[in-house]
C-alpha cells in the first residue's frame, strides 16, 4: 500500500514535469484544421508534405467541421489551438464578429493578388480559398423535364414532393434561404418572403450535409436538390444517373474562408499556409480531386476535369454571393425559426 509520502512524491514529480509539457507544447507543429474523409486523406498524404517541403514548416492536421473549429477556438479563449481557421464564410463571420480574427497581412500572401474577384474579403478580413459551386442536380431517370432555373423548383409540378433541401445547420440551407429572398422578395435579407416561399416547397426531404443529399438521390427518395458539383461529379464517376446544371440566375457556392486567428501562436505559418493553399498548382490539384472551382486566376484545370466544371475562370462571376458579417446578428434567430416553422 502506498504511503501518503509516496503519493505526495508522485504528485510532486508530475508537477515537475509540467514545464517540460509546456516546452513540448511550444515546439508543437503548426496545426492545420481540415475536413474528414477524402479531404483529410489529400491533406495528410499530399498537401501537408508539400507544404512542409515548400516552407520548412512542420505541421499536422486536425480533422473536423468548420463548426467544430469554431467551438475549439472559442473554448481556447486567449490560446487558440489553431492559428488559421478554415470554414464556410458564414461560419467564419461569427468568429470575426466576436473578434477572434485579425486582417490578413497580404505582403505574406502574394498569391492573394491573383484571386478571382470577390474572394478577398473587404479590409483583408479573410479570403475564400476553396470554392465549391452549388447547382441544381437531378436524377435523369426520374425527371422528364430537366430544370433550367431555380424557380423551376416551385413551378415544375414534376418536382413536387420529391425535392431535397439542406437542413438549416448546413450553410447550403442558409444560402438557399437567402436566394429565395433574392428571387421572390425585396432582396436576400427578406427572410419573411424566403420562409413563405420555402414552405411552398413542402413536403421536402432535409439533409444535414451533401453526402446525405447524394444518398437520398441514389435511394430515389428525392429527384432534385440543390447540391455541390463535388458531390454530383463523384456520383457520376460511380455511374449514377444524375446531372447538374448552372441555373439561369447563377449558382450558389460553399466558400471556404481562411482567416488568421488572433489568439493563435503561429501566425507566420498561418500566412504561409494560406499562401500555399491558393497557389495555382495546389488549386489545380484541388479541382482535380474535389471538382472545386480554382480560386486563383492563374490556375489551370486539367483537360480531363475541365469540361465537367462549368464554373471556372470567367464563369466565376456567375456565383451569387451574400454578405455575412451583418447576417450574423440574425443567424441564430433564422435557424430557430427554421426549426419551428419548417421542421
Amino acid at each position: 500500500m502506498i504511503t501518503r509520502r509516496q503519493l505526495m512524491a508522485g504528485i510532486g514529480a508530475s508537477a515537475a514535469l509540467l514545464p517540460l509539457a509546456n516546452r513540448v507544447h511550444a515546439q508543437s507543429p503548426f496545426v492545420i484544421p481540415t475536413y474528414g474523409g477524402t479531404w483529410a486523406k489529400l491533406w495528410e498524404e499530399t498537401l501537408v508534405p508539400e507544404f512542409t517541403a515548400a516552407t520548412g514548416i512542420k505541421s499536422q492536421i486536425d480533422v473536423g467541421l468548420g463548426k467544430d473549429f469554431v467551438s475549439k477556438i472559442r473554448a481556447g479563449g486567449t490560446a487558440s489551438p489553431y492559428s488559421v481557421f478554415m470554414g464556410n464564410e458564414n461560419i467564419a463571420a461569427t468568429l470575426r464578429a466576436e473578434g477572434f480574427f485579425e486582417p490578413l497581412d497580404l505582403s505574406k500572401i502574394p498569391n492573394a493578388a491573383n484571386l478571382h474577384e470577390g474572394l478577398l474579403n473587404a479590409g483583408n478580413n479573410g479570403l475564400r480559398g476553396i470554392v465549391s459551386p452549388i447547382g441544381l442536380a437531378w436524377r435523369t431517370d426520374m425527371v422528364e423535364t430537366p430544370p433550367k432555373s431555380w424557380t423551376d423548383l416551385w413551378e415544375n409540378s414534376e418536382f413536387a414532393g420529391r425535392i431535397g433541401l439542406y437542413q438549416i445547420g448546413n450553410t447550403g440551407a442558409q444560402l438557399f434561404l437567402r436566394l429565395a429572398g433574392k428571387l421572390f422578395g425585396k432582396g436576400d435579407t427578406d427572410i419573411d418572403t424566403a420562409f413563405a416561399k420555402i414552405k411552398e416547397l413542402q413536403p421536402f426531404t432535409q439533409a444535414s450535409w451533401s453526402g446525405e443529399v447524394a444518398t437520398a438521390l441514389m435511394r430515389g427518395d428525392i429527384a432534385i436538390a440543390p447540391v455541390d458539383w463535388t458531390e454530383i461529379l463523384t456520383l457520376q464517376d460511380k455511374g449514377a444517373p444524375v446531372q447538374i446544371i448552372v441555373p439561369s440566375e447563377g449558382v450558389l457556392s460553399y466558400e471556404q474562408s481562411f482567416n488568421i486567428v488572433k489568439t493563435g501562436d503561429n501566425k507566420d505559418a498561418a500566412h504561409a499556409y494560406i499562401n500555399f493553399l491558393i497557389d495555382p498548382k495546389v488549386q489545380s490539384k484541388l479541382a482535380d480531386v474535389f471538382y472545386v472551382a480554382p480560386a486563383n486566376r492563374k490556375s489551370v484545370v486539367s483537360e480531363k476535369v475541365s469540361p465537367r466544371l462549368p464554373i471556372q475562370g470567367d464563369q466565376m462571376s456567375k456565383i451569387i454571393r451574400f454578405e455575412w458579417d451583418s447576417y450574423v446578428k440574425i443567424a441564430a434567430e433564422v435557424a430557430d425559426r427554421w426549426n419551428r416553422e419548417i421542421g
Binding site: M1, I2, T3, R4, L7, K67, D68, V70, S71, R74, T94, A97, E98, G99, Q167, I168, G169, T205, Q206, S208, T215, R219, G220, D221, V328, K329, A331, A332, A335, D336, N339, R340, I342, G343
Partner: protein, 297 residues
C-alpha cells in the same frame, strides 16, 4: 573481555501509517472533478450568461434563457418526444431482453455462447456504422419497406426515416445488450432451488415465474431500465442520423443550439434543463421501484 555483548536494544519499528481506504478512490475523484464536475459547473455558469453577437456570451447574468425554455411549447414538445422515445425503448428492450437473459441464465447448451455473442453483437460495430446500416434498411426503398411490400402488407412505404419510429427501432437494437447483461447477472445469481421449492409445493410454471423469479430479478430490471432510459434520452448519433426534424430529440436540439447556431448560453441552459428533468425522473423511479421491492415477499 566478556564474550557477552551488552544487549543491543531492539529498534522496534513504529507501525507505518497506512493510507485510509478513501485515498484509493482519490485518482477517480480527481478525474471526475476535473473532467466532469468542473465542465458541468462551467456549463451551469454559462447558462446564466447573456447572449451576444460580438462575443461568445455577454458579461451580464440573466435567468432569461431558462425563462424562455420553460415557457416554450416547442421545447416542451421535444422534451415529451424524447421522454416518450426513451420510455418506449426501455419497455421494448425489457420485453425483448428478459426472455433472452432468462434463457441464457438457465441454458446449459453449447449454443448458449453463440447466443451470448449475438446479444453483444450490436456493441461490436461502431455506432455510426450501425446507424448507417439502419439508414439503408429503413429508407423508403430500403429492405424493410421492400419486404413489407413484397409480403403484401403495405401499399405505400412506411416513413421510418425523419420520424421517431426509425429512431426508436434503431435505439432498441443498440441498447438491447444494456438490459440483457444486468438481467443476466441478476438471474444467474438467483438460486434455482428457490423456484424448485415453489414447484414442489404445487405452483405452476407461470405462477413460479411471476411470484418467485420475476420479483427476485427486480434489481436487474431496475438497473437495466435506468441504463437504457438514460442512454436513450441522451442518445445523439442515432436521432441525428435517422430522426431528421420530425424525430429530433433534446440531445439533437442542444447540439443545434451549441454547434449549429453558436448559442452557447441558451444551449447550456437547455442542457441543464434536460439534465434536471432526467435526474428528477430517475429519482422518482428509484424511489418507486425501491418501495415496490421492499414489498416483495
Amino acid at each position: 573481555m566478556s564474550a557477552l555483548a551488552a544487549p543491543v536494544p531492539m529498534a522496534v519499528a513504529a507501525p507505518r501509517r497506512r493510507l485510509p481506504v478513501w485515498w484509493m478512490i482519490l485518482p477517480a475523484l480527481i478525474l471526475l472533478g476535473c473532467f466532469l464536475l468542473l465542465p458541468y459547473a462551467s456549463i451551469l455558469v454559462m447558462s446564466f450568461r447573456e447572449a451576444s453577437t460580438n462575443a461568445v456570451y455577454g458579461p451580464g447574468l440573466t435567468l432569461g434563457h431558462y425563462g424562455e425554455i420553460v415557457t416554450d411549447g416547442f421545447v416542451w414538445g421535444i422534451v415529451w418526444r424524447t421522454l416518450r422515445t426513451g420510455l418506449i425503448v426501455t419497455v421494448a428492450t425489457l420485453l425483448l431482453g428478459y426472455p433472452v437473459a432468462y434463457h441464457l441464465a438457465r441454458s446449459r447448451s453449447r449454443w448458449a455462447s453463440l447466443l451470448y455473442i449475438c446479444v453483444i453483437s450490436p456493441l461490436l460495430v461502431g455506432l455510426v456504422v450501425r446507424t448507417f446500416a439502419w439508414l439503408i434498411i429503413l429508407s423508403n426503398s430500403g429492405l424493410a419497406n421492400t419486404a413489407l411490400k413484397w409480403a403484401g402488407l403495405i401499399g405505400r412505404p412506411i416513413i421510418f426515416l425523419n420520424s421517431s419510429l426509425g429512431v426508436t427501432i434503431a435505439l432498441i437494437h443498440v441498447f438491447l445488450p444494456f438490459v440483457i447483461l444486468p438481467l443476466l447477472g441478476n438471474l444467474q445469481a438467483i438460486n434455482p432451488e428457490v423456484a424448485m421449492a415453489a414447484r414442489s409445493l404445487g405452483a405452476s410454471r407461470a405462477r413460479t415465474f411471476f411470484k418467485v423469479t420475476l420479483p427476485l430479478s427486480m434489481p436487474g430490471i431496475q438497473a437495466g431500465a435506468i441504463l437504457v432510459f438514460v442512454l436513450s434520452i441522451s442518445a445523439y448519433v442515432t436521432p441525428a442520423m435517422l430522426g431528421g426534424s420530425q424525430g429530433r430529440t433534446m440531445a439533437v436540439l442542444v447540439v443545434q443550439y451549441l454547434v449549429d447556431n453558436f448559442r452557447w448560453p441558451a444551449g447550456a441552459a437547455l442542457a441543464i434543463f434536460m439534465a434536471a428533468i432526467t435526474v428528477s425522473i430517475i429519482f422518482v423511479y428509484l424511489k418507486l421501484t425501491a418501495r415496490a421491492m421492499r414489498r416483495l415477499p
